[in-house]
């Protein structure tokens, strides 16, 4: 039986794991390869790197991080952040990424999804959608929620699938960082219209939030960053909890 996946996400800037993006001081808190190895040991089903490097030079550093991680961690690696071309896909896939996630570049140029899927296969094209509630529906936002693209998020998810996306990484900007649980309503709205796997992101703060998202939605995976980063919970604790709730997970211990 297919397991529900737990995906820890690491924010990386200039080759270092950082935390506190939305606050004044960004702290460098570690080596991404070591963090990925730790998550792997805990039973992470996939490791996600989000590159928040602003400079061009920093890009090469990310490629190096992916290459070094792929030498030590043998689960799928997903890399996102600032991906804007087929060449970006190629470079990251060649360095050892298994999937690449695109966000704002795909909103601005949907053809990128189609082109990347055609060249590299849908399985490695993850479309990341940041959604925010607006009236009775959700709108797509970019730049950390600062820019409203005035596109219906559910429609966009459907279109991304049609264009060849292999997965949707769906982050609720309303619940992100709130620790009140995943955005069940948003997830169901998207899961109802797409057949490809949806990764739930934003809002988890407790073990129960993980069982809730798999019991109340068809999400295939749940992603979290800070929660794992600050060791509030480990991946193994989450899996143990899911197993107790009869949700199929892959245990490594």
């Amino acid at each position: 039986m297919l397991a529900k996946r737990i995906i820890p996400c690491l924010d990386v800037r200039d080759g270092k794991v950082v935390k506190g993006i939305n606050f004044v001081g960004i702290k460098e808190v570690g080596d991404p390869v070591e963090c990925a190895e730790e998550y792997n040991a805990q039973g992470a089903d996939e490791i996600c790197f989000l590159d928040i490097t602003a400079t061009h030079e920093g890009r090469g550093t990310m490629v190096d991080v992916v290459r070094r991680t792929a030498q030590r961690v043998f689960v799928p690696l997903t890399v996102g952040g600032g991906i804007s071309s087929v060449d970006d896909f190629r470079e990251l896939l060649r360095s050892g990424a298994d999937k690449v996630s695109v966000n704002s570049a795909a909103v601005r140029n949907p053809q990128l999804i189609h082109d990347a899927a055609e060249i590299f296969g849908s399985q490695c094209v993850v479309v990341a959608i940041d959604a925010k509630k607006k009236g009775d529906s959700w709108t797509v936002v970019v730049n950390g929620g600062r820019i409203d693209m005035n596109i219906d998020a559910v429609e966009w998810a459907k279109k991304a699938e049609e264009l060849g996306a292999g997965e949707i990484l769906l982050t609720s900007m309303d619940t992100d960082g709130m620790k009140t649980g995943f955005d069940i309503e948003l997830l169901n709205a998207v899961c109802d219209v797409v057949k490809i796997p949806v990764i739930a992101s934003g809002g988890c703060g407790t073990l129960e939030h993980f069982s809730e998202v798999f019991q109340k939605t068809k999400a295939s995976a749940a992603l979290a960053a800070s929660l794992f980063h600050y060791k509030e919970l480990t991946v193994s604790q989450v899996k143990e909890h899911l197993e107790e709730n009869n949700i199929p997970v892959r245990r490594v211990d």
Partner: protein, 199 residues
């Protein structure tokens, strides 16, 4: 020495990373002489069946692989596993290497399950197989595929369940095929590669 066969299709470096991590001597090569001198062969593969067989032909490797597979252990991975069969129906009908009897056909899972079949799925042992020495029933491995082997159950060491019984690990003599990616399947996958290396 394990030679990872390079014919232009496949994530060779992931496989090499895993073998390096295990301390297994290996090389990546597209030369017939390396395939002949290797102790064991790995045939990786990503993409579509007809393209991959064409590339293998164009590299002049089809016959040498068929010959060497009679003499030494060979492991096909993902599309490389599918290429071990007689033929595939992906985009028409294409002849494979014919090393394991059977065909490769589009999956038709029940329960409205989508293809491609992507993710971690659990192995159910079927026939005894050396490569499963370190594997327990229910251990999870990582799959990404839309087509699957159709073959006699005698050739299947392990299945997985995805709205249908999917041949996950197949074998015939010293020829083995993993539909999943052992190089992306954590400890379970590394265990299978290590066992293969020590055959």
């Amino acid at each position: 020495m394990i030679t990872i066969i390079d014919y232009g299709a496949g994530n060779l470096f992931s496989v090499q990373n895993a073998l390096n991590f295990l301390g297994v001597e290996n090389n990546i090569s597209s030369k017939a002489e390396d395939i002949v001198s290797a102790d064991k062969l790995i045939l990786p593969g990503v993409g579509a069946f007809p393209d991959a067989m064409r590339m293998l032909d164009e590299a002049g490797l089809t016959e040498v692989i068929k010959d060497e597979a009679r003499k030494k252990p060979l492991m096909g991975i993902c599309l490389g596993m599918q290429m071990l069969f007689d033929k595939s129906y992906e985009f028409g009908e294409t002849e494979g290497l014919g090393l394991i009897p059977g065909t490769v056909e589009l999956m038709h899972p029940a329960n409205d399950l989508v293809i491609p079949h992507i993710g971690w799925n659990s192995l159910e042992k079927n026939e005894p197989c050396k490569l499963l020495e370190t594997v327990n029933d229910g251990d999870y491995v990582y799959f990404v595929h839309s087509y699957a082997a159709v073959t006699d159950s005698r050739n299947v060491a392990a299945y997985c369940d995805y709205g249908m019984k999917v041949p996950a690990l197949v074998m015939s003599g010293n020829v083995y095929g993993c539909q999943f990616h052992p190089e992306k399947s954590g400890k379970t996958g590394l265990g299978i590669l290590k066992t293969f290396a020590s055959l």
